[in-house]
């Protein structure tokens, strides 16, 4: 790939981000947040796309973006009101913009020209307030781009120009914490340092000082506001506070010529050192400026606290300061610094760390076997190594963790399109889009969510007329929520539609021969029929949901990820699909257990408690199926080795250990093992890579001794395998 192509790839990556941002900001507008900042953000996103596209000569994209941008310019100047119709149009325009970008990338063959042209017309109509649009686009377009200029356009947000540091001075609000004094730093010296940079005006705010009886001498309760009347480099200021910045609350804002400052920077501190999390900088600033405005500030001398007598308002002789070159980056509001890393590199790192964890466990086991004392230097060193390994692993996994936002952001467009297609009014509410989950999981969420959203709109929601007739608002609501629950990520998709028509579902299932006509089914069982292969409720296979893939495909793809899906529905009120997935596909905290000759791993999140079965607590339902009394409830006791076929005869429960587990559905059961060997974080290895899914086994891992151990799929064991346990090749005890 030549350099130009590489830049182009970066451009399209940027476009994806810009589009996501655009969408998010448009959603804000739609929710009524039509402030200038949001409109500006939309303008910037479109403008940046156009800028980059111009550099690559992507004319169709530039033309469309230009029209879009022109309207945004009208909106941001306030010449046009940002009303609902405009916002709806903008939303559709962003969809077409996305299409143009995809077409430019070659991802889709071409843009729907008719749709694009119609939107251009609409946008121009809005821009010119109903007048005929100008015949040609104005030539004095400010984008006479040359590829040379491109790098800049990419690297810096176009509409966030470098702040012009024409500030004639700085205001430093400085509040030492107790530990700064404890570290033998002295405020007086710092103030003197500042004084060397230029003439200063120092105001002390002692309003936080408690009365003597409540005063703890080790606390810092004084705040100094220093106005420095010199155009020095901010870095020079920061240097003064270099050693104490973590021990004080510090806010540095440019002073003077407000007209010199750009609007976005005007009302926020140019640099805030993250010194303390409990400090409200804005409040502090307000207080600080209040104190300055106050004609009679409390002017107690330092001497009250500090041994060195110094005037409260000190104006040391101005020292000439070399006008250092202005460092632009220093005064940009702090944003998380990020780098772009090739995913392959991260994956390689994760794999290696996975191997490291295994190797470390292997080493520990060998040391243990060699009979070295636990207190020996080697054993202790290994313990530290284990902690470090674990920390490395957590950190590496955190690199891959991503908010589900990237998936959720794609959904509003889908909802709009599907809603248009079926002529329904739909409002999408998303919750918890910052919920983080491993990247591989995020990627694989998109498809099932898309499918279920389509289903919710197409099948779940009623038409506006039907809704009104049912006493609901014409607009249906679809809620998409993400949350963490007991070590898993849960995605809920709920609608306030008609709910599942159980009669109809049952009839279809009978017609298709999925169930017997007289099968006695609970409501829950009927609801779950929609996951049965070959089931499709739509009377007419529609363009939207009926694409040949049913909910059974969704269910299977979720299961392949170690996830589960369930549905609950209330007739007339709506349905909720709940999807639960592991947070990561790479590691798992597990309990190492022995069953017959085998070592197995039980996922820790499923385990409630472990206990030694007492003969008095054991009972046999119908004389065969063992149950165990646990906190006054009877739980089925499952001999895992037996149902897995590792053993022919059931073991005597009192010889083993019972582990009480809880399934996703809240069902509890006790699993019987020979012994518990310990607890360990294990690296998940898929069985499907080289073989296939095995019933009752979620995955495999490699233990310290280098052997493969199976990770139990507790849900399947508790709910499915137990019922099917009687098979010709391993009978229950006779």
């Amino acid at each position: 790939m030549d350099a130009f192509e590489a830049i182009k790839v970066t451009f399209f990556q940027e476009c994806d981000e810009l589009l996501a941002d655009l969408e998010a900001k448009l959603m804000l507008l739609e929710q009524g947040q039509t402030d200038l900042e949001t409109i500006n953000a939309v303008f910037r996103a479109v403008h940046s796309v156009k800028g980059g596209a111009g550099a690559f000569g992507l004319e169709a994209l530039v033309r469309f973006a230009h029209v879009f941008e022109t309207l945004m310019d009208e909106l941001r100047s306030g010449r046009k009101p940002c009303d609902t119709i405009t916002i709806k149009t903008l939303l559709r325009a962003s969809d077409v913009l996305a299409d143009h970008i995809q077409a430019a990338q070659g991802l889709i063959p071409q843009v729907d020209e008719g749709r694009s042209a119609a939107l251009v017309a609409e946008l121009e109509m809005l821009t010119h307030g109903g007048e005929a649009p100008p015949a040609v686009e104005d030539e004095d377009d400010d984008f006479g781009f040359m590829p040379m200029a491109f790098d800049m356009a990419l690297d810096e947000p176009v509409a966030a120009p470098e702040p012009e540091l024409e500030a004639v001075g700085w205001r430093i609000v400085f509040k030492p914490m107790g530990r700064m004094y404890a570290n033998a730093n002295e405020t007086g010296l710092l103030l003197r340092e500042l004084g060397r940079l230029g003439p200063t005006t120092v105001v002390l705010d002692d309003s936080e000082t408690p009365t003597l009886d409540a005063l703890s001498v080790e606390d810092g309760c004084l705040t100094w506001t220093v106005d420095l009347d010199a155009a020095v480099d901010e870095a020079a200021l920061l240097e003064v506070f270099d050693f104490v910045e973590s021990d004080c609350e510090l806010a540095i804002t440019p002073l003077g010529g407000a007209s010199n400052m750009n609007a976005p920077f005007e009302d926020e501190p140019a640099a805030v050192l993250p010194a303390s999390d409990d400090l409200d900088i804005a409040a502090l600033l307000a207080k600080a400026s209040g104190a300055v405005a106050d004609p009679v500030p409390e002017t107690i001398p330092f001497a009250a606290i500090e041994p060195e007598p110094a005037p409260a308002v000190a104006t040391p002789a101005p020292t000439p300061v070399a006008a250092a070159p202005v460092a632009a980056s220093a005064s940009v509001a702090p944003a998380p610094v990020t780098i772009r890393v090739d995913l392959d590199r991260v994956d390689r790192l994760i794999n290696v760390v996975g191997e490291l964890v295994i190797q470390q466990a292997m080493l520990s086991q060998r040391v243990l076997e060699s009979g070295l004392a636990r207190s020996s230097g080697i054993a202790l060193g290994l313990e530290d190594l284990e902690l470090l390994t674990r920390e490395i692993q957590d950190s590496v996994m955190a690199i891959r963790a991503q908010p589900v936002k990237s998936v959720f952001q794609r959904m509003p467009r889908l909802v709009r399109e599907v809603a248009d297609m079926v002529s329904k009014q739909v409002r999408l509410v998303t919750v918890g889009e910052d919920t983080e989950v491993d990247k591989t999981v995020v990627e694989r969420l998109a498809e099932p969510i898309t499918h279920m959203l389509r289903n919710a709109i197409d099948h779940g929601l009623e038409t506006p007329d039907e809704r009104i007739a049912a006493g609901k608002s014409a607009e249906g609501t679809v809620r998409l929520a993400a949350l963490h629950r007991s070590g898993r990520i849960v995605i809920e998709i709920s609608d306030d539609g008609r709910g599942i028509n159980r009669e109809r579902v049952k009839k279809i299932a009978i017609d298709k021969g999925l169930i017997a006509a007289d099968a006695p089914l609970t409501d829950e069982q009927i609801d779950n029929l929609i996951f049965a292969p070959g089931f499709s409720t739509a009377a007419v296979v529609s363009d939207i949901s009926g694409r040949g893939v049913g909910m059974d495909v969704v269910k299977r793809s979720i299961q392949a990820l170690g996830g589960r899906i369930s549905i609950s529905s209330v007739p007339g009120k709506g349905s909720t699909f709940t999807l639960s997935l592991p947070l990561t596909l790479a590691v798992l905290d597990g309990m190492v257990v022995a069953a017959a000759e085998q070592t197995l791993i039980a996922p820790l999140p499923t385990i409630v408690e472990s206990l030694t079965p007492q003969a008095a607590d054991l009972h046999f339902v119908g004389g065969v199926d063992p149950v165990i009394r646990f906190r006054d409830r009877f739980l089925p006791l499952i001999d895992v080795a037996l149902i897995m076929g590792f053993r022919e005869q059931p073991m005597n429960p009192t010889d083993g250990v019972a582990v009480v587990v809880e399934t996703e559905g809240g069902q509890q059961a006790a699993l019987l093992f020979d012994a518990i060997q310990g607890q360990r974080q294990v690296v998940i290895k898929s069985l499907e890579t080289n073989y296939q899914q095995v019933e009752g086994v979620a995955a495999a891992t490699i233990l310290g001794d280098g052997r493969v151990a199976l990770i139990l799929d507790v849900d399947v064991i508790v709910t499915d395998m137990r019922r099917k346990s009687i098979r010709p090749d391993f009978k229950l005890a006779s």
Binding site: Q598, L687, T689, N690, Y691, V694, E695, A700, V708, L710
Partner: protein, 151 residues
């Protein structure tokens, strides 16, 4: 016979019981000694379980059992041929690897009717070398049927 008309294939020959089989050498990645495998629950009898191959979970198929031959418990003298079959890595348990052969396609004869049905499913053809009969195995047939049977 010329190379252009009749390409030579390199095959790896192995023994199961008293019979000899061979597979295309290109599909075999490595050969290693038998190590105890972790059994998989509810799997067909010829699935010996899984082993750790340098961090990869490798399923082991007892090839003899897969062919319907009687097999004994594997010992340290048995070998595992690590083969690449349709994007997957699979370990094939056999008694011993015996030879590397150069064979022309033309010398392969169709499987005679006398062989058992299960063997015939996997045997693509037979040929003779120095009076020994060697069956050519098509590995592609082995995996899809695992799925069909276990599903």
């Amino acid at each position: 016979m010329t190379e252009a008309k009749d390409p030579q294939r390199e095959l790896i020959a192995f023994r199961i019981g008293s019979q000899e089989f061979c597979v295309d050498i290109m599909s075999v990645r490595e050969i290693r000694g038998w190590t105890p495998a972790t059994p998989l629950p509810r799997s067909p009898g010829y699935m010996k379980g899984v082993i750790n191959l340098r961090g990869t979970v490798l399923p082991i198929i007892d090839l003899g059992a897969r062919f319907g031959l009687t097999t004994s418990e594997p010992t340290a003298r048995h070998v595992i041929m690590v083969a690449h079959i349709g994007g997957r890595m699979v370990g094939l348990l056999v008694d011993a690897v015996s030879d590397i052969l150069q064979m022309s396609e033309a010398s392969v004869q169709p499987t005679p009717d006398v062989a058992s049905d299960q063997v015939k499913t996997f045997v693509k053809g037979i040929f003779s070398i120095d009076g020994r009969m060697i069956s050519l195995i098509e590995l592609d047939y082995i995996l899809p049927q695992i799925e069909a049977e276990a599903a």
